[in-house]
């Protein structure tokens, strides 16, 4: 046996040392910092000194990485669907049914380029649709914003416009109320850890579970130790969540589970108590908000004769009025951090029919208590550790080698660094895949493939301005064709989008004649492709990145981590089988398309790009390429003269913004004072929504708010509720990262809160239901159950639990595989794609947002007859 080499890599769930022996990965561990790694900070608060642990943390899916690399479902060779003949019968109706044959890379590349050329010549721009999943394997150069965007731009493909899936209510609801478009409607989080440790007396976690969701995102358990610090200081923690979530398990002093879709009523009951008891910050709302009096009249019932009393709130949300009052009184008397979503923003409540008004409720409650004053903020407890934001190392969203300022944040700073004149490198753009060109929304991919015409508002992630989300789009865009070729890349949508039998049917019945899937594992949508190109994992290619830092719409989110750890992602092993890195696949296709040198800048490989990237960042200020290559990572030193600038303190004090945030942009402010709204204030009556009313009236999106608007799929939709009386919440999964790590034979599947092994040898996805609901249906622990509604059916393993209220059921979204028991798209799935059951309806008619947590279903014991 050869010697064990210790290499480095980074994942979506933390950096790792990778031990490699004889060309095989034997071990992956977190990175324990070395003695010469600087970067510690100290916070002094309440007589104590707090210092971060000197080791990095790992998310479960990251600790399972070795089983992802060596998964039995790895695709090791290019493949072609056996009955797909591009010169004869293409048999799209057999997608998902017919098998595959191995072909050589030469054949695969020939087939792919023939089809690309055919589409470009016969149908022109707009005919080739491509999309990735939300999350790719980690690495700033290998991530989708980089190599993939460079490739699709040069190929003239159109990328689907992704809806802001984790932001939704904040994007479409809060943004018109307070701006923050540069963060898609969620707030800055700078230095709020120190603020909380010094001043905060209570944290209200509302739809927030940082222990499950990588802290905020990508940062593993970096913030866990900090929540323990708060607990040690006696800071009370209250949880509002339909599920007694893992963060609550560790820290909860009190758990509230309002009926799904009624969080706004709960919030209005709190606001009512503050209004009648005078326990809100009157000066703040007078100086920092507009429209408050009109909204106050609404809450007090002067406008609609319906006072939003705690008793009224109880009738909607099921929480006893006395406890709503008790929470309101404690909140009104103490300095409270509102952890509205685990990132500070986000949260499953924003992904529902009432998501817009929920996000506005969070802003309203924070404003009423003096948002931005010491100890009072919206803070997810995951970001806001001390972090040197002046040191430039970008996140993946800053575009990498694409240099695309339209689909990434390259235009902020990296474009001019990587593609500076001196480097001789060239960025890419794609006029068709731009605001002036064509847009195809991810939520309507099925209809686009079915060649149906439709309209919507807001291209996707609408970062440029508050108003950009109100722009009208249509498919096909004027002058453009329907899509006829689909290049799919990364995780499956069957488990992650809405009403997903649509996505299955579109493959089989739609007008797309060629489907390419570039995939690492044989699962989900890969099984519906005509040509499969085998990609490799990030452990089989060169790359570089920083722990927890994606940047873009979450600027400076390296402040989730305890240290800024920048990692040289080494190629630890050769790509398995005939798989290739994404970059090499793109380069090979570009070569056949006559653009090889343009794509690779005359033959640069991934390691060459790493060196160019290194030089474009501030890394040369603290290390050399040789040192970085040898050690594999570097910790950014923490500056001695660090100046803390707590988020929104400037706003509360009416000063110029002093935080390092990317916005509001100067042109959207008057002298850098105030928010991005026309008034510069938090608008209880949104000027932008008022203006929108000149064009369209959206009754579910009132200019004055937050307002309680009953869910279009909930307990007020009487007929449907009678038929399907269980409300399903389907949060992001705890152990896999979306589809990453689920199924494909990984070790995560053995976690008994992830999947349950049944006698038939299949590991079933879990449906959690209260013991009362289970008993009423004759269901016992571990029974197989059929969850269904008019949109489809899924077979799951029942878990009886007290962690949901009766009437609520819980099943994570993002099953990676899809296993229909009959005709694909029209039969029962046993893989666990609960999004088959969710409604394709957007939050409101003008908010192009997903609403997975507004879903009524019925559950019955399953005796094994698939239908």
């Amino acid at each position: 046996m050869g010697e064990v080499q210790r290499l480095t890599n980074c994942t979506t769930g933390g950096p790792v040392f990778v031990d490699v022996q004889d060309g095989r990965i034997v071990r992956m561990t977190p990175i324990d910092l070395a003695d010469d790694d600087k970067g510690d900070w100290v916070i002094e608060a309440r007589g104590r000194k707090f210092m971060p642990p000197r080791r990095t943390t790992l998310s479960p899916h990251a600790q399972a990485s070795r089983s992802l690399v060596y998964s039995p479902k790895r695709i090791l060779h290019p493949m072609k669907r056996v009955d797909w003949d591009p010169e004869g019968e293409r048999n799209p109706q057999n997608r998902g049914i017919s098998g595959y044959e191995e072909i050589s890379w030469d054949e695969a590349l020939d087939l792919v380029t023939t089809e690309l050329i055919r589409e470009k010549r016969e149908n022109g721009p707009g005919s080739i649709l491509t999309t990735c999943s939300s999350h790719h394997l980690w690495g700033n150069l290998g991530y989708r914003h980089s190599a993939y965007y460079r490739f699709l731009n040069l190929m003239g493909m159109v990328h689907t416009a992704h809806n802001p899936d984790s932001w939704e209510g904040w994007h479409w609801g809060a943004m018109p109320m307070w701006g923050n478009s540069h963060r898609l409607g969620i707030p800055e989080q700078y230095d709020l850890l120190e603020d909380a440790l010094k001043h905060t007396e209570m944290v209200v976690f509302w739809s927030a579970d940082p222990e499950s969701t990588g802290g905020g995102i990508y940062s593993a358990f970096e913030s866990t130790s900090r929540r323990f610090w708060m607990k040690e200081l006696g800071i009370k923690m209250v949880f509002v969540d339909p599920y007694y979530n893992p963060t609550a398990e560790l820290f909860s002093d009190k758990w509230f589970a309002p009926r799904l879709g009624t969080d706004v009523a709960f919030g209005l009951g709190i606001a009512y108590t503050w209004l009648v008891e005078g326990t809100y910050d009157k000066e703040y709302v007078a100086e920092r908000t507009t429209g408050f009096d009109e909204w106050k009249d609404y809450v007090l019932g002067k406008a609609d004769d319906l006072p939003k009393t705690p008793e009224w709130a109880e009738s909607e949300c099921g929480i006893p009025a006395r406890q709503i009052r008790a929470l309101a009184r404690e909140w009104g008397a103490k300095k409270v951090m509102l952890a509205a979503g685990g990132l500070g923003g986000w949260g499953g409540a924003c992904r529902s029919a009432t998501g817009n008004e929920w996000a506005r409720t969070m802003v309203a409650l924070a404003a009423m208590q003096g948002y931005g004053k010491p100890g009072v903020n919206i803070w997810g407890t995951s970001q806001g550790a001390p972090s040197d934001c002046s040191f430039v190392f970008p996140g993946y969203a800053e575009g990498g080698m694409s240099g695309d300022p339209e689909k990434s944040a390259a235009g902020y700073r990296m474009l001019y660094r990587i593609f500076a004149h001196s480097t001789g490198l060239h960025p890419t753009v794609n006029a068709h895949d731009s605001t002036e060109g064509i847009a195809i929304p991810r939520l309507r991919i099925p209809e686009a493939m079915m060649h149906e015409k439709f309209e919507w508002r807001g291209k996707g992630f609408c970062g440029p301005s508050i108003q950009s989300q109100m722009q009208k789009y249509q498919y096909p865009a004027p002058g453009y064709p329907f899509v006829t070729m689909y290049w799919r890349y990364g995780g499956s949508f069957f488990g992650t989008m809405q009403q997903t039998n649509r996505y299955v049917k579109a493959y089989r019945e739609g007008g797309v004649r060629t489907v390419v899937n570039q995939s690492i594992w044989m699962e989900g949508e890969a099984k519906f492709a005509d040509i499969i190109l085998p990609a490799c994992t990030n452990f089989e290619r060169w790359d570089m990145s920083e722990f927890g830092n994606c940047s873009g719409y979450i600027p400076d989110n390296h402040n989730q981590t305890n240290h800024r750890v920048i990692v040289f992602q080494k190629k630890c092993i050769e790509p398995l089988g005939e798989s290739k890195s994404d970059y090499d696949i793109f380069a090979a296709v570009a070569e056949r398309m006559g653009l090889g040198d343009v794509f690779t800048e005359g033959g640069m490989d991934e390691l060459d790009w790493c060196k160019a990237y290194f030089d474009a960042t501030d890394l040369p200020q603290i290390t050399t390429w040789e040192q970085f290559e040898k050690k594999g990572y570097v910790v950014v030193p923490f500056p001695d003269d660090y100046k803390s600038t707590p988020a929104m303190r400037w706003f509360a004090e009416g000063r110029k913004r002093d935080t390092p945030d990317w916005g509001p942009r100067p042109g959207d402010t008057v002298g850098m004072v105030g928010l991005q709204t026309p008034s510069g204030k938090i608008e209880f009556v949104s000027k932008a929504l008022k203006n929108l009313e000149m064009d369209v009236i959206d009754p579910e999106r009132p200019a004055m708010g937050p307002q309680f608007i009953a869910s279009w799929e909930g307990h007020h939709t009487t007929e449907l509720y009678g038929k399907y009386p269980l409300q399903m919440v389907s949060p992001h999964p705890r152990f896999s990262f979306h589809t990453m790590g689920d199924s494909k034979g990984t070790w995560l599947n053995e976690i008994d809160e992830h999947r349950i092994l049944h006698e038939d040898g299949h590991r079933y996805w879990i449906m959690r239901l209260n013991s009362v609901d289970a008993k009423a249906r004759g269901i016992t622990e571990g029974d197989l159950v059929r969850a269904f509604n008019d949109r489809g059916a899924v077979i799951l393993s029942a878990q009886l639990t007290e962690r949901v209220a009766p009437g609520t059921v819980h099943s994570y979204e993002s099953c990676a595989d899809y296993l229909p028991q009959g005709e694909p798209g029209a039969s029962t799935d046993i893989a666990g794609c609960v999004n088959i059951l969710t409604n394709m309806r957007t939050i409101t008619p003008t908010s192009h947002a997903m609403s997975n947590n507004s879903c009524l279903i019925q559950i019955e014991k399953w005796e094994g007859e698939a239908s």
């Binding site: 071990r27 561990t29 790992l58 600790q63 358990f221 398990e249 009190k254 406890q323």
Partner: protein
Amino acid sequence: MKSWHLIVDVARCHDCNDCFLADKDEFVDNEFPPYSAAQPWHGHRWMNIKRKERGQYPIVQTAYLPMPCMHCDEAPCLTADGAVYKRPDGLVIIDPVKAKGRKEIVASCPYSAIYWNEEKELAQKCTGCAHLLDDGWTETRCSQVCPTEAIKLVLAEEDDVERMVEDEGLERYRDSLGTKPRVYYKNLHRWEKAFVGCSVVYGDTDECAEGAAVTVLRDGSVAGHGTTDIFGEVAVDFLTPGREYVVRIEADGYKPVELTVQVDASLNAGTVVLEKA
């Protein structure tokens, strides 16, 4: 000499499974002679996390019990011929060569911590990361990766450990088995004991009864007490399950209430309304 102990804090575990996965990462498809043959890809739980819910909606807690091999000092699995032996540092090792074919070793463990490898015809379990400690590691894989510091490896003299046990209230799981495990638990009551909780309301005002005194009695003597919080809620813990208790609720100016409850497991006794005295 310093020997191997693992301290597990039940109150800091939230079932993230990093320990379970780190164990897989270390041992699946990897062999570390002379201590272990490769763990099969599926089926073994050398770190087994047991799950328990306490109470009923909405007064609920959870408890998790991460269970590796207990590396008992009087381990029933030890054999005279050295197929299963104890290292000087306390670790119990199943010799992957000598133990081949010895399926009876699996059943010898009262903690069910030993697994059968069909393919290799071998009983297998947690080795305490003996091979890593030999290499100079000061952590096991499970303790290194634990994000809440619920699992700690303590390499210490027995005297020092005894002091820790005393000072920190550490316990052995199912101590009465008498096998003397080297794995100690903190806050084990969350797994072994039960609470009685309730939500108390002032009947005249319909407000939460904050500060009400709640006493739990067993045969007339006090088994536990607590005070209701701002939401009128309380959970009196450390009760021995399987018994009947009387719960007395008292608040100034209100008539006391007594409930008789059978506590087989943690119980939410529901809402209690106090009438004005």
